[in-house]
């Protein structure tokens, strides 16, 4: 069958590349974000600040009385701040890459609207990821500024905190979005937070060094992406970065993000081109 077969062939040379199409989708997210940014500020900026206040200063005052040799001799709040940044980046990655992605198919149907245009599923995916990356970076930047303002940063390496935290968030975002797009109902996403996000936050060397864990549990903690992200951020913030360790952390997180990207290009296509 044919629809207007006699019309001149669709011009393929005029079609922009995938990168341009992804940026196009990203810019549309910016237009939409102008409407909703206010409500996102509360949870993404104030939440972590409360954490820092309660854990760093509240709990920290107790910890500091018992000596902080195990923390590398710095006050607890200095020890914990880069970890809270890491948790914030992870959560930004997870929240922005799960419910909005699910919504794109089931609630707002933004994806379904976009797929009827020139955008291909992979463009929709990458465009959304660019926006998610921006959101992670914005949240992280706010927190890094607060850390600096409260004098919790001990090194010039900290200028790399923002890209490090963003990489950490994106490493969680690419596989999460790739998975969320396949879902038919929202419940599994809550499980990710409950059984994924929360244990990671508690046991990845965030609030206490991994060396405090029982020996058999430590390898498990060292294998988690959040530990790599937190260790990276902490090294940059305290200035005791071991370059070879940092390279391993970055490589781990980059690989995770890349695998997610590969996987997502496929799941998006399977979901949006059926």
């Amino acid at each position: 069958m044919s629809a207007l077969a006699e019309a001149p062939a669709a011009p393929r040379r005029g079609l922009p590349g995938s990168w341009a199409l992804s940026v196009r989708a990203f810019r549309c997210w910016l237009v939409m974000y102008r409407r909703t940014w206010r409500s996102s500020v509360w949870s993404s900026v104030f939440g972590p600040l409360f954490y820092l206040g309660a854990m760093g200063y509240g709990l920290g005052s107790l910890v500091d009385k018992n000596g902080t040799a195990a923390l590398g001799g710095v006050p607890y709040v200095v020890f914990v701040a880069p970890a809270v940044l890491g948790v914030l980046a992870m959560n930004s990655g997870l929240t922005n890459a799960m419910f909005p992605v699910f919504s794109g198919i089931h609630w707002s149907k933004i994806y379904l609207a976009a797929r009827a245009t020139m955008l291909r599923p992979a463009d929709i995916y990458r465009g959304h990821l660019l926006f998610i990356g921006l959101r992670i970076a914005m949240n992280s930047a706010c927190f890094v500024l607060v850390m600096a303002a409260f004098g919790l940063i001990r090194s010039w390496w900290a200028v790399l905190l923002l890209p490090a935290a963003t990489l950490l968030g994106v490493a969680f975002a690419t596989p999460s979005a790739a998975w969320a797009v396949t879902l038919e109902n929202q419940t599994p996403m809550n499980y990710v937070f409950r059984f994924g996000g929360v244990p990671l936050m508690l046991f990845s060397g965030t609030f206490f060094p991994v060396t405090q864990l029982p020996g058999w549990l430590r390898p498990l903690a060292y294998a988690t992406p959040l530990w790599h992200g937190v260790a990276l951020c902490r090294g940059l913030s305290l200035g005791d970065t071991d370059v070879s360790a940092a390279v391993i952390h970055v490589a781990y997180l980059t690989a995770m993000a890349a695998i997610g990207l590969w996987f997502g290009a496929r799941t998006y296509r399977r979901r949006l081109y059926v």
């Binding site: 069958m1 207007l4 196009r24």
Partner: protein, 289 residues
């Protein structure tokens, strides 16, 4: 999909009629290049939808069955976002938005948020949005399902004007009046197959009689009446919950025979055949074929 074959002519309105589940929406998705054709050959605007999907979609307008508007954005912003997906410059989008909102009578709501708009307004906005890229073909999947009669007439009116301007329309519907109003040609689908094809007039001539006699009987007398009418051997008969539909070349002549047989219907009506009769004949259950 099975054995579907059709060619679309520029500037016509082509309709797909069929019951729910007949495969109309699947066909629309394939035409919209968001679903791969399962088998066979599909050429849209001279291109292969698998290879040139994005380039073809650039020249299509799509009005999906379910609204995909962004309820949090304003009417105008919805058009802006959509126009940006097509890579149109802001200035051009703004100009077209003015024209399109005027066309669908939403100019006064341009700055309003979309969520609180009525169903009819949202559908008109979706139509305006689908036209932002000045498409060669407009694909509409059940454009008036769920709208009240007034809203439907406004939508029909706008679609008719588009057709007059030379936009090719492809639409699905299960409303016969919609098909009769809008379509130059249509196909009737059932279980993924084409069961009939032609202009509305041709279909009526081919699959129905010139006239239809509608009879209603008092409760309880229906079964008896069905038997007696059967004995008069009508060309075709449909029994609905409260009515008998009798297909005949001459409705008045058949009515006289009904009276002669001693039947006294509560109400009797002779009318011309419509597409609905064709549709029921082709896709519904019939007692006598």
């Amino acid at each position: 999909m099975d054995g579907i074959d059709f060619d679309l002519i520029r500037g016509e309105a082509f309709g797909f009629l069929g019951p729910n589940g007949a495969g109309k929406s699947s066909t629309m998705r394939m035409l919209g290049c968001v679903s791969p054709p399962t088998q066979g050959e599909l050429i849209i605007l001279g291109g292969d939808p698998v290879r040139d999907g994005a380039a073809i979609r650039a020249r299509l307008g799509v009005v999906p069955q379910e609204d995909t508007l962004d309820g949090e954005l304003s009417v105008r912003e919805n058009l802006l976002v959509y126009g940006r997906y097509f890579g149109l410059p802001r200035k051009l989008i703004s100009e077209r938005t003015d024209q399109l909102l005027d066309f669908v009578q939403l100019t006064e709501r341009a700055g309003d948020q979309v969520d609180p708009l009525s169903g009819g307004m949202k559908r008109r906005l979706t139509i305006a949005r689908s036209l932002i890229n000045d498409p060669d073909i407009l694909i509409l999947d059940e454009p008036t399902t769920g709208l009240d009669p007034q809203a439907r007439h406004v939508v029909w009116d706008r679609l008719f004007r588009l057709k007059q301007r030379g936009v090719t329309l492809v639409l699905t519907t299960h409303y016969m009046d919609e098909a009769e109003q809008l379509c130059d040609r249509l196909v009737v689908m059932d279980s993924g197959k084409f069961v009939a094809e032609g202009t509305p007039r041709e279909l009526i001539a081919q699959y129905s009689t010139a006239e239809v006699l509608e009879l209603r009987f008092a409760p309880g007398l229906m079964e008896d009446a069905v038997q007696k009418v059967k004995d008069l051997s009508p060309e075709r008969m449909e029994v609905t919950a409260d009515r008998l539909l009798l297909y005949a070349a001459d409705g008045d002549e058949f009515l006289a025979r009904v009276h002669q047989a001693g039947l006294e219907p509560l109400t009797e009506l002779v009318r011309r055949s419509t597409l609905e009769d064709v549709f029921l004949h082709l896709t519904g259950r019939t007692l006598i074929d």
